[in-house]
Amino acid sequence: MERKNVSSIDYLLLIPGVGFILLFIGSSIFITITQSFGVLSVTGKSQFTIENWKAIFHDKESLDSILFSLKIGLLSSVGTLLFAFPIALFLRKGGAGKRFLASLIKIPLFIPALVAAFLIINLISYHGIVNEALLALGIIKKPLRMLNDKFGWGVIVIQVWKNLPFVLLILSSSLASIRDDTIDAARNLGAGTFSVLFRIYVPLAMPGILVSMILMFIKAFGDFAIMSVAGPTYPPSIALRMRNTATLFQEWDKAAVLGVIIILTTLFITWLYSRLAEFVTGRK
């Protein structure tokens, strides 16, 4: 492998880009972390303490909201993947209606999350289109509770609908890099549909699957807009809880603790998915 010479000038050229990231993102993450321990606090006096952390972990509502957001994050990312992967496979192969389907699927990309949430609400609310249709057809006697439900199905449906095209883009480019010859070779050597899918497509698309799962998790886990419209009344999502803590209760340091938890969870899930991918593909 050829190694290119990197001069000190090259590093200098990096300063505007990297410097910005370090200065603004780095410093705000740093302050969030210190604030969660009471240092550099904007409210009250600045003093090192672990009281904020203790308080959050003794607060049932905070714990519930962490678990709830975790659940929504995981189910949304897995759900989106389950819907997107077959579509991506279909689009790779082509066939009738490929162009139409491809453009149809991109529509949600142009709709902001909050608008998307309201659109879906029309469909799945207590007196929404789906319920009214089911009632009219006599399939159900009483409207189904699909919105603001305790489990969070409404949120998951909106997350999946909204993020499908985004995940599809990532998966499609991942699948496009798989050569047709590779698939033919597998079939020629005796692989049926199932084997081709799980021994060739999935492992080879794993980088894309991984990236889309992680990005989807981060979006859904920290989501504010969709949760506030379609989420259950209790528990609030972690982002909602954080907003309440900071602005309603004026407890900025405790909000910082929740912020740190969001960051740490995201990092942990990223790590977990990578391990999972290694396990599935059997390589490092």
Partner: protein, 373 residues
């Protein structure tokens, strides 16, 4: 590891292999038609390949040779006609169940599997028990001089090594038929010549019926038991390499394989086994072979450049020419001649002193004329 040593010790390497086996397959294509958007890529192809035979489909790109191969493998469904392996109709058998092995131009190794897993893939799919798998993969590795590379990923291998992994992966499953889709076109010229001999030797020892697709006539001549020359979806001629080269039956075959002077002229006389042909640059005697034409008919024929040589006392069919180009090739001089406005290709020995513009006398071997359909 030197590629050249690959099969240099035939007896020893092959004795331990039970990859070659008695069950072999005849391949029969009956009136095969494959259309794409209503255009026939393969147009009524009829072919029988004997057990253990090495048959090459040769032709320019777009002639239908690869489509034929992929239809045999099952990647395409024929629109008409039948494919038989021995007596078994294969038309509706999916590729995974056909027990063919294909070597791809791109090698098509699985990039996420190491060498061992690549070779073992077909055995895993066939649910061969683990110990048997290990034994067979180890044998294939040894046969292809790949021992010690089991853990390498395809990306870490050279083109030649990838080729060997692809071959190992193809033979380890004991296929009924081996299919080659231009497997050598990604190798450099020297390696290509070496590997084609090795593929041929391997095939003969294992005795697996093989179909080989190439556009390279040298490769086809070197490697095949029989050559099927294809053009525009149809078979032009089938024969062993010698007869294809020496006795082309159509102008396409004459022109595609080797160099040829393809001309037409009128039969002006006939005696015993010879005909006299009228050409713009003179009258020439030629052996008629099976030619049925009678005096007055116009016929098409070809002769090779190596049959047009400098005239010597008593030589046949004299023709006066002007040298247009003389290209020194090392082992011979390639000549472009002008015979009263007709361009002829000819050969001269590499020691000959011929320059463009020279006037010279050449002679055409009367046995060299091949009459075309």
């Amino acid at each position: 590891m030197v590629y050249g040593t690959l099969f240099s010790d035939p007896g020893e390497n092959y004795k331990t292999l039970d990859i070659g086996r008695e069950i072999m397959s005849r391949l029969i294509l009956k009136d095969l038609v494959k259309k794409f958007d209503n255009v026939a890529a393969v147009n009524h192809v009829r072919l029988e390949v004997e057990e253990g035979e090495f048959v090459t489909l040769l032709g320019p790109s777009g002639c239908g040779k690869t489509t034929t191969l992929r239809t045999i493998a099952g990647f395409y469904q024929p629109d008409e006609g039948e494919i038989y392996f021995n007596d078994k109709l294969m038309n509706n058998i999916p590729p995974a169940k056909r027990n063919t092995s294909m070597c791809f131009q791109s090698y098509a190794l699985f990039p996420h599997m190491n060498v061992w897993d690549n070779i073992a893939f077909g055995l895993k799919m066939r649910k061969i028990p683990q110990p048997e798998q290990k034994k067979r993969v180890a044998q294939a590795l040894e046969m292809m001089s790949l021992s010690g590379m089991e853990k390498r990923m395809p990306g870490q291998l050279s083109g030649g090594q990838q080729q060997r992994v692809a071959l190992a992966r193809a033979i380890v499953t004991q296929p009924d038929i081996l299919l080659f889709d231009e497997p050598l076109s990604n190798l450099d010229a020297k390696l290509r010549v070496q590997v084609r001999v090795e593929i041929k030797e391997m095939q003969k020892r294992l005795g697996i019926t093989s179909i080989y697709v190439t556009h390279d006539q040298d490769e086809a001549l070197a490697i095949s038991d029989r050559i099927v020359v294809m053009n525009q979806g149809q078979i032009e001629q089938v024969g062993d390499p010698q007869s294809i080269y020496l006795h082309p039956m159509t102008s396409f075959v004459a022109g595609f394989i080797g160099l040829a002077n393809i001309l037409s002229g009128q039969v002006v006389a006939r005696k015993e086994n010879q005909v006299q042909l009228e050409l713009p640059f003179g009258r020439f005697w030629a052996f008629a072979g099976g030619l049925r034409a009678s005096v007055g008919d116009t016929v098409r024929f070809s002769f090779r450049p190596e049959n047009v040589v400098q005239y010597r006392e008593g030589g046949p069919n004299k023709v006066s020419v002007t040298i247009q180009h003389a290209i020194f090739m090392g082992d011979a001089i390639d000549l472009f001649l002008d015979a009263k406005g007709t361009r002829l290709r000819a050969r001269a020995e590499s020691t000959a002193k011929l320059k463009p513009g020279d006037l010279a006398v050449f002679s055409i071997d009367e046995t060299a004329f091949q009459f075309l359909e």
